[in-house]
Symmetry: C2
Subunit: 145 residues, 2 copies
């Protein structure tokens, strides 16, 4: 596994895809999302249900329904998605799994790890969910290979 869980990877890819697809005010269905980000449909459905409950994405049932993002969703940092799915542990926990991470009684990696962890956090906090819509349109970046 990578830095993030599979669940989290699917969540981020899906959110980017929904952002791009619904910038015009439309909605996009779970089936289309799953196909385009290469994820298991029903598993992704659960993830999106949760993100919807938490207000990170929007959804409407019925014909012409589907998932979409409002302006406020688009402007939120990507870190919101990670926190919602994996919890904020990745931004706070000790790299060696000690019960707490602090500069009092630090683990051997604390100093260096803090730097990497903070950079990861800063990166994810400064990226917004909507900021890749253009690049996705142009095919400069992709969500599937």
């Amino acid at each position: 596994m990578g830095i993030f869980s599979k669940t989290c990877e699917y969540a981020v890819r899906a959110v980017f895809f929904i952002a791009q697809q619904t910038a015009d005010g439309s909605r996009v269905g779970i089936k289309e999302i799953a196909v385009n980000i290469d994820s298991p449909e029903h598993f992704l459905a659960k993830i999106l249900q949760d993100l919807s409950k938490r207000g990170i994405i929007q959804s409407v049932k019925g014909p012409n329904g589907g998932f979409y993002l409002d302006a406020q969703n688009l402007s939120r940092p990507l870190s919101d998605v990670i926190e919602a799915v994996d919890g904020g542990g990745i931004f706070r926990d000790c790299g060696l799994g000690l019960k707490e991470c602090s500069s009092k009684n630090p683990c051997p990696l604390h100093h260096d790890f803090l730097d990497v962890r903070n950079r990861l956090q800063n990166m994810l906090e400064s990226i917004t969910i909507g900021q890749f819509n253009e690049d996705l349109n142009l095919g400069i970046v992709v969500l599937k290979k």
Copy 2:
């Protein structure tokens, strides 16, 4: 879970502990290691067996036996432990789980993620297994809380 798997966290803590304890040429047993790094004894045993097979740590059976590190082990980078346990994926895989990570058809996070990932790798490659022995002796850093 954090950046690394539980397995990997135990492995790194254990390796640091063995390094410190056996700097004088002695050996340390699985029981003592497990207690001092706060890990499940038999689970850790499996991990250390594997590290031993891979030559990252040394072991001898029987009375006065146990685990230890030779000079060459002590000078190896910590990244060796991570690669042995979790595989090198953490240093190479796409942050969003795409099948491959490359600047051709990158995912949206590629550019920023590459930076963080490389810093993590550089950090783990420049830290040696033996380099915290002194700090551990002095209690400046700890492996258990």
